[in-house]
């Protein structure tokens, strides 16, 4: 199905007739996905939104259960419930890749996060191919293609003056069928070739991951820690950062426990009772963030956690630049092996010797 770019507003209106539809817009001092209001224009191109769509699946604050105490008796009531269906229109391939990574975190490895799943099941993602990456975008280096978004239900392929809607899931098929009905045959427009674009920034991510697996880059983390503010900007704006805290709102004998975003950049993130803190200094927290993005997540889930959207570079108040760090790691002169890497090598040598 071909839909003219001028018709995006009508498309959002049509979807909005039955469910909430989120489109790129401005709210609370930042561009983000905002609920579409009927009749307002919708533009999908241009710079990516500053706040990623993750809060639609994983809100900054989310109630988990309420508790009540009455004469020593405790009662609990879960807040988990099915979510109203909604559509997110105009997600970039980088952000769509981030949703796939959040799925790995919240839906796999033993426990299924019911709160996330309720929203995920209710969501229809309509991605749009990216034709205008800026100087801080490096998604291609992180294995994301600008013209594909495998996790999306529908992919809108930019063909000059129009988008071609390609359904990619059952949900997507149904959605596109409904759109065709709502927009009618008039939606067809002259479409050119698919617009092709590429990132200009291409840090050597694969090389960096490989080297992070073996070598000790403490000097890199220390030099970043020399200027990093350890504020939470990068983690809150990151489309894949998923760490959360569980806290509560208390009113006398009742209250609610909720989870809220947390950041590995904060001191109390790992602070234990008795004041022991395994990551007390700035460098160890910087290391944790980059190691988690570039290596630990890959160790656990088989792919890296960075999608190369460039948000943390654009908005870092201190000038921390993950692309520069990736390159610094990839091109650094040989570092000492970490103790863990030495152990792994020794084990393998032993195994080989036994084999021979």
């Amino acid at each position: 199905m071909i839909i003219s770019k001028d018709n995006m507003g009508a498309l959002a209106d049509a979807i909005g007739a039955t469910q909430t539809v989120y489109v790129p817009g401005t709210e609370r001092a930042a561009t983000r996905f905002v609920a579409h209001k009927k009749g307002e224009p919708v533009v999908l191109g241009g710079a990516n939104v500053r706040m990623p769509p993750k809060d639609l699946l994983f809100p900054a604050t989310e109630k988990m259960y309420r508790w009540k105490k009455h004469e020593g008796q405790l009662s609990l009531e879960t807040e988990a419930a099915a979510h109203e269906p909604f559509t997110v229109l105009g997600v970039r391939p980088c952000d769509m890749a981030s949703v796939a990574k959040l799925d790995l975190v919240f839906l796999t490895k033993g426990f299924v996060d019911e709160f996330y799943q309720a929203r995920r099941d209710a969501a229809t993602f309509v991605a749009v191919t990216c034709v205008d990456p800026d100087g801080d975008c490096f998604c291609e280096a992180m294995g994301v293609r600008l013209d594909a978004a495998p996790a999306a239900d529908v992919l809108l392929v930019d063909r000059g003056g129009a988008y071609e809607a390609k359904p990619q899931t059952e949900k997507g098929e149904a959605a596109v069928a409904a759109w065709a009905e709502a927009l009618g045959a008039g939606a067809d427009a002259a479409a050119g070739d698919a617009v092709e674009a590429h990132c200009t920034l291409n840090p050597a991510a694969a090389k960096a991951e490989e080297r992070l697996r073996a070598e000790d880059f403490d000097n890199v983390w220390h030099s970043v820690a020399d200027y990093c503010l350890t504020c939470g900007t990068c983690t809150f704006e990151c489309p894949t950062c998923y760490c959360f805290d569980i806290s509560q709102d208390v009113r006398a004998d009742e209250g609610a426990r909720f989870r809220c975003w947390d950041s590995c950049m904060f001191t109390q993130y790992t602070l234990m009772a008795g004041n022991h803190n395994p990551r007390a200094d700035r460098a160890s927290r910087v290391r944790q963030r980059f190691m988690h993005k570039l290596r630990y997540f890959a160790d656990r889930y088989g792919e890296g956690l960075c999608v190369g959207c460039g948000r943390c570079i654009r908005d870092c108040p201190a000038g921390v630049d993950i692309a520069a760090i990736i390159d610094a790691v990839a091109t650094a002169p040989e570092h000492e092996l970490t103790e863990a890497a030495r152990t792994v090598q020794a084990d393998e040598a032993k195994k080989e010797a036994a084999h021979v």
């Binding site: 001092a29 309420r66 709102d249 009113r251 009742e254 209250g255 609610a256």
Partner: protein, 166 residues
């Protein structure tokens, strides 16, 4: 927001007469004694004021004031000894400077001045204590609950319309 259904509460309050919740931080040595004296003299004053005894007006952390206003109080009153009469010599001098600046800061953020008031009331001024409570309660009743301060949609829309305002 409080867990209690504030909207529901506010509605209930609209139907009946609005009974404000006012928190009064009273210094142990002067104002609290003044309140005591007012009680001994059987003076009548509105029961909407909850007295919280503190060692000194200098003890009142401005955080407490803000937290009280956010967590359901419609007004806050901070009371202490007259300047020069502080039990600890100087506590209220510090409190005075601090509260002068903090009050202006809150008003700058849009808080109606009546919602946060400061008074010096000595141990013998039972009458002044009563009059202050009556006056503060009156002020707050006129203003209505905190929720009534919410800016109107028109103001918000006008502000949002001016691009670059935020």
């Amino acid at each position: 927001m409080p867990i209690a259904e504030t909207a529901h509460e506010a509605q209930g309050q609209a139907n009946e007469e609005f009974r404000p919740k006012i928190l009064a931080f009273c210094c142990n040595w002067c104002t609290y004694a003044g309140a005591d004296l007012a009680g001994l003299n059987r003076m009548n004053y509105p029961a909407d004021v909850k007295v919280l005894r503190v060692p000194c007006s200098g003890r009142v952390n401005p955080q407490h004031v803000l937290r009280a206003l956010q967590d359901g109080c419609d007004g806050v009153l901070v009371c202490g000894c007259h300047p020069g009469d502080c039990h600890y010599s100087t506590g209220n001098y510090y409190a005075k400077r601090r509260m002068m600046v903090f009050k202006r800061l809150l008003e700058f953020e849009g808080l109606p001045p009546e919602r946060f008031q400061i008074r010096w009331i000595s141990g013998s001024e039972a009458g002044k204590f009563r009059d202050t409570i009556v006056q503060v309660t009156d002020d707050i009743k006129k203003l209505g609950p905190m929720a009534a301060d919410e800016p109107s949609q028109a103001v918000v829309a006008a502000l949002r319309a001016k691009e670059g305002e935020l």
